[in-house]
Symmetry: C2
Subunit: 440 residues, 2 copies
């Protein structure tokens, strides 16, 4: 069977625009065959496009014989175009149906399909990811990626309105930004280069030019860990700002989350319903717990931990139980647990001006005031066993007039996962990359 050409046909409506008010209108629709019920002289086809589903009703009586035969040949996930009339009919799913006058079969689908794209037959995550394109057609995936789109839009709107310049920093870097661990090597002509883990050093340098910057883009960590919340390629929202400190950028973070939750509540109620997610109501300022308070919370819950230790995944799990449905900050971290570019407190060197932004057990954002004095930066590098010579290009910029500054990096995938209450970060990423997965 040869496919039909698109020719001059162009869509006039999406399925969700077809309402009983359009009774009698002639429309052109495109989409995928979601379902077919063939009752002999009567065939119902559910046509799905990116906005929804509409019923096409075909009878031998009111449909041209050629069109009828063509519709009889359809199978699920075939791609079709329909020219037809809108008909108000109370018995139809949405009180309306399409009576087709012409039909084009634009593409076929081979059966059996490796996955049920309606999502009604549950499948393991690896089966789903192997046939990701079918998996993404299920209503839950469609909802997730529409909400993700809105989250990114709101993020950019807020950061743009607060005067942050969008930047594009390089992904191929000559040396290790945050220490040599966890980097993917790249063969860059005759040299070995690396994939950037974050735009940290570049964005810090750039606030000495543009004062307020942000970047949303992919970064890479060669971590061996294979968990439900780690990916080796991830999207990061990075913000950096001159003439402010940790408290200012924590306020920006909470304002951002406030707007994100508000916008998706307003714009994505259908999608939230599909996912069965209720967005928590938050009030600003969000709760701030010091690291020491959090250690006490853990100890009070019989979790064994000493002051000075970083928070392990089991520790975070306990915190998740304590802070159920809560967005919150942890600040005043021990200096030793944080990277070299985080500023120690001037009154108490063992603590630093860092924060984590959390939802339940998930760390979404890390940030803080940055070291802005070159000598302190050199000392901090040495303390962490790093060689300042490897940071020559970065250190140079500290002698050109480097203002006090602060910023953060937010894991976009983590945020979407948290807000939408997904168990696995792979649910919210189109084509995840992990320890064992490079395809599709």
């Amino acid at each position: 069977m040869m496919n039909d050409d698109l020719g001059t046909w162009r869509r006039t409506h999406y399925t969700n625009m077809i309402t009983p008010n359009l009774d009698g209108a002639k429309v052109t629709l495109f989409g995928w065959v979601q379902e077919i019920r063939d009752l002999g002289n009567l065939i119902f086809v559910n046509l799905r496009d990116k906005e929804g589903v509409i019923q096409i009703t075909v009878t031998t009586k009111n449909t041209d014989a050629e069109v009828f035969e063509k519709i009889r040949k359809l199978a699920r996930e075939f791609v079709i175009g329909v020219n037809g009339l809108v008909k108000k009919r109370d018995e139809a799913p949405r009180g309306v149906e399409i009576l087709p006058q012409e039909i084009k079969i634009l593409a076929l689908a081979n059966h059996p399909l490796p996955l049920d794209p309606t999502g009604r037959v549950p499948a393991e995550i690896d089966v789903r990811l192997d046939a990701r394109i079918l998996d993404l057609r299920c209503p839950e995936s469609q909802a997730i990626f529409k909400i993700r789109h809105e989250i990114v839009s709101t993020t950019r709107r807020v950061l743009s309105e607060t005067g942050h310049l969008e930047i594009h920093t390089p992904r191929i870097i000559a040396a290790a930004a945050e220490g040599g661990a966890s980097l993917f090597p790249v063969e860059y002509f005759e040299e070995t280069a690396y994939l950037a883990q974050s735009p940290e050093l570049y964005k810090e340098e750039l606030i000495s030019v543009f004062e307020k910057v942000y970047e949303i883009g992919g970064f890479f960590r060669a971590e061996e860990s294979h968990t439900r919340r780690h990916l080796n390629e991830f999207i990061s929202v990075d913000v950096e700002e001159a003439f402010v400190n940790v408290n200012d950028v924590m306020r920006l973070q909470e304002e951002l989350i406030f707007h994100i939750l508000k916008d998706i509540k307003n714009k994505c109620s259908l999608q939230l319903d599909t996912l069965g997610v209720k967005i928590p109501t938050i009030e600003l300022p969000l709760k701030r717990y010091t690291y020491s308070q959090v250690i006490d919370q853990l100890k009070n819950n019989d979790f064994k931990i000493e002051w000075g230790e970083d928070l392990s995944t089991p520790a975070c799990r306990v915190l998740g139980d304590i802070h159920h449905k809560e967005f919150y900050f942890i600040d005043e971290w021990p200096t030793k647990t944080r990277p070299f570019y985080i500023k120690p407190r001037s009154d108490k060197n063992e603590l630093c001006e860092a924060f984590d932004f959390m939802y339940e057990w998930i760390e979404i954002t890390s940030g803080g005031s940055r070291v802005d004095d070159p000598n302190q930066l050199i000392n901090r590098l040495r303390e962490q066993g790093l060689n300042p010579e490897n940071f020559d290009f970065h250190l140079k910029t500290y002698y050109y007039g480097m203002p006090p500054h602060a910023g953060w990096g937010m894991g976009l995938d983590r945020l979407v996962m948290a807000i939408l209450d997904r168990d696995n970060i792979r649910d919210v990423v189109l084509f995840p990359r992990d320890r064992v997965r490079l395809k599709p």
Copy 2:
């Protein structure tokens, strides 16, 4: 000399907000020392922030002795905070000046600086890139990156308003998308992976889910060529759409360029003045020349070229002279000159439904209708010497219901370069990566 702490000081105004109307107001400003004129009992300091420059006037008479001594210590590019009074004064550069009451020296700068950050002393591109952070502080660079920000914003707004979903496709890929050439290998745990050259195959697959998608992000080409318009890491604007053909996506391209030019004319007049750029007025539809017409144009200009050849750089240079200050399309390309995923014309197989979008001699965008039939795709792969087995994951999706579709990829850096009439693409990229440059 110890730097001062930011403490509780926070900016109340940017320099461009200081007008004679504010006479008598108390303000807090932050920025860099652009220039100092020390006349003994009178010192003028030009303070620069991201929005402009303001004069600070200090006299022994009206300034506290300690503040006066501190100001005497300043040098260019020192970072300072000023608490002071706005004073209307007709003789001052903008009819207004700041009388400082308190001053903080927040960071020093070592002299001599490797580059003059006012941009008044011209420097070679390599000197500029080696001290990029200083180079970016000159008015031209500031203007370029503000305009670039607006170009990206408008692009997202237009694509979002036309119903395109923002996607994030992987940068680490298992196999070569558009053929094996020009890929950077990545050591991905035990495997060799590659850096993506484009989101081409992913975005094509994704229109069979979301119908209209776009992505703005960095991609990588391991090309040896070291020219003024090539970079090995570049930002691409990628669009893909179901149920449309080459003509539809050419219309989207010209509407986008129309809105971009309109927006930067409206929002960036100051920056355009700084660059001495006059934005050309365009009328839609833009001119479309067929490949054959362009070959004739070249021949008529005594340029030696045969039908079927791709357009070389010298050929494009001649086209640039013919199409001075013109945005235009070249379509109806020979099938052999285009990648395997471009659809040949059904009536004339040797031609294909491809276009290039040009400004003068610069190719900004390439696109076209895509092959949507799996058998044709397999044939096209074989014709170009590619092994269909290496495209197994991609080909699979063609059996799940793949609609007719079309799209394009626009080089963002090229576009900014073209609109702002820059000779070298490195001018419009923060930290360019090329054959010889991996730093900073």
